[in-house]
Amino acid sequence: MAEQERNMRRAFGEALTEIAKEDSDAWFVDADSASSTGAASFRELFPERYCNVGVAEQELVMVATGLAQTGRRVFASCLSSFLVGRAYDQIRNLVCLSQLPVTLVGSHGGISVGPDGATHQMVEDISLMRSLPNMAVLVPSDYWSTRHLVRSSWERKAPSYIRLSRCDVPDIYTETDSDIIPGSGRMLAEGEGVTICACGIMVKEAVKAASILYQQDIAAEVIDCYSVNPLPVQVLLASARRTGCCVVVEEHSSRGGLGEAVASLICSNYPIPVKFVSLENEFGQSGTPEELMEYYGLTANQIVSSVMQAWTMRRR
């Protein structure tokens, strides 16, 4: 694992530009946020396939729909809170119902947005998007998984939601890692003591937790669940059978996110104790990203402590 920290939004912009070079049907629609979402390079290179609708998230999704109805493959992006929150009706009734090849990229997911506070810290997006039929929900954990998932959502030709974080994250994957696609998951550490499922920027915390646990003689299996919908079902269930207990970690509300998705899968197939490291049903607030992650308990130490609780209840 390399130590370099990079930005997922930059990865999105680079993947988008690369796709646009190959595919003259690839369009990008923006709601006055290309500089924040990392897609400014597309705007420079392909102005004829770029459209900024202004501060109008509903129009963003409507225009993306119209383009997709002509056969284009469309990326639409803005801050997650406003994309998913304000344009939910359009996402549901236009994009998902018609199964259109539209990739919605929500930047600024989670509380690690920092000082902007609760309005800009989207912690219900995974829940809202994974409840929609036909929608792939993808939460990359680093620069390269972002690049791979942007590309695979384009190849998929169906509705996708990709959640990006604002902060820089250390590299986990490389350019040559394959199979980072909807429906897959990646085993980052193998073990028989506990299954730790994580997505987004919490994956690096899960890996840290695993190394702490290793020193305490608990071999943790860490699964990067970047595909929240569809879940990597076989990977998760095989791991649950091996370890007998599970902790799910996400920078999201406890309601309806990865935690409930994994718990639902496990309890109907191979019931084992599942613990959650996530926000409660609550809003974030202003602060530095580090302060907020500590305050809301989204840390490796919190994962370790949840693992201890799950481990004592594990199914043998």
Partner: protein, 279 residues
């Protein structure tokens, strides 16, 4: 397509009205009054104005139509069936489980439907996306979008209105079905939408108004060239047009759609055509 004369078009429109009444009568559900107010507009579009191909409904070079007031779809379905996009038999399954013709338009389920609708205020924005692509590719196809007058109370319509003019989408024609009614009653009493033309002009649009049941005037207006700007057409219509006892009613004021009410409506529509030998 354009060789149909006005009298033939009038007969087509009356046949569409009859099918609309039959559909809603059989389904015992659906928005009859607001479907009848747009029959003449749709007939002019599909028989006189728009370039479409029933044999190849997704043809790239077609004109597009978006029924933003999706609840008026009985009128659109009946026109598409009469125009040959699908069998007329499908009309009798409207709103039934598994039907091709859902309660509100869906893609890709129904041939001839260019965009889904049902949640109000979304058609123009979708039309903008289509028109933007067509314009950038310098394709001559136009995009027609029909909204209800109550529908412009949706804020999203005005987001879209700004987009159309900003990008100079003169391949967009927005038709406002000005039947003065919305779900709960009279539009001006619930939330005034006038002055509609002034509003669109101030948003950078060309505007005009027309009698929404005058086939000749509608044809002239909808075929009008309007270089540089999108065009908004306020079509003055009568809710329930064609069935005397439904005219000027809102959906809530309609009598219960019993078999006898449907038969009475069909008798009246048949009587209009008897002199043309179409019953």
């Amino acid at each position: 397509m354009n060789i149909i004369n006005e009298e033939e078009l009038r007969i087509k429109a009356n046949n569409v009205r009859k099918d609309v009444v039959r559909m809603v009568g059989i389904a015992r559900s659906g928005h009859l009054v607001s479907s009848l107010s747009i029959v003449d507009i749709l007939s002019v579009l599909y028989w006189k104005v728009m370039k479409v191909s029933p044999q190849e409904p997704r043809m790239d070079s077609r004109d597009r139509f978006i029924l933003s007031k999706g609840h008026g779809c009985p009128a659109l379905y009946a026109v598409l069936a009469q125009r040959g996009f699908f069998s007329r038999e499908e009309l009798w399954n409207y709103r039934r489980l598994g039907a091709m013709l859902q309660g509100h338009p869906e893609t890709p389920r129904t041939p001839g439907i260019d965009a889904p609708s049902g949640s109000l205020g979304m058609g123009l924005g979708v039309g903008n996306g289509m028109a933007l692509y067509l314009k950038r590719e310098q394709l001559p196809s136009r995009v027609f979008c029909l909204v209800g007058d109550g529908e412009v109370q949706e804020g999203s319509v005005w987001e879209s209105a700004m987009t159309s003019s900003h990008f100079g989408l003169d391949n967009v024609v927005l038709i406002i079905d000005r039947n003065m009614r919305q779900s709960e009653g009279i539009t001006s009493e619930i939330r005034e939408v006038e002055p509609l033309e002034d509003k669109f002009r101030s948003f950078g649009w060309e505007t005009t108004s027309v009698d929404g049941h005058d086939l000749k005037a509608l044809t002239d207006v909808l075929d009008m060239l309007h270089g540089g700007r999108p065009l908004a057409v306020v079509a003055r219509t009568v809710p329930g047009k064609g069935v005397s006892f439904m005219e000027k009613e809102s959906e809530k004021e309609l009598p219960h759609l019993s078999r006898s009410v449907i038969d009475k409506a069909l008798r009246e529509l048949n009587a209009r055509e008897e002199k043309d030998g179409d019953a």
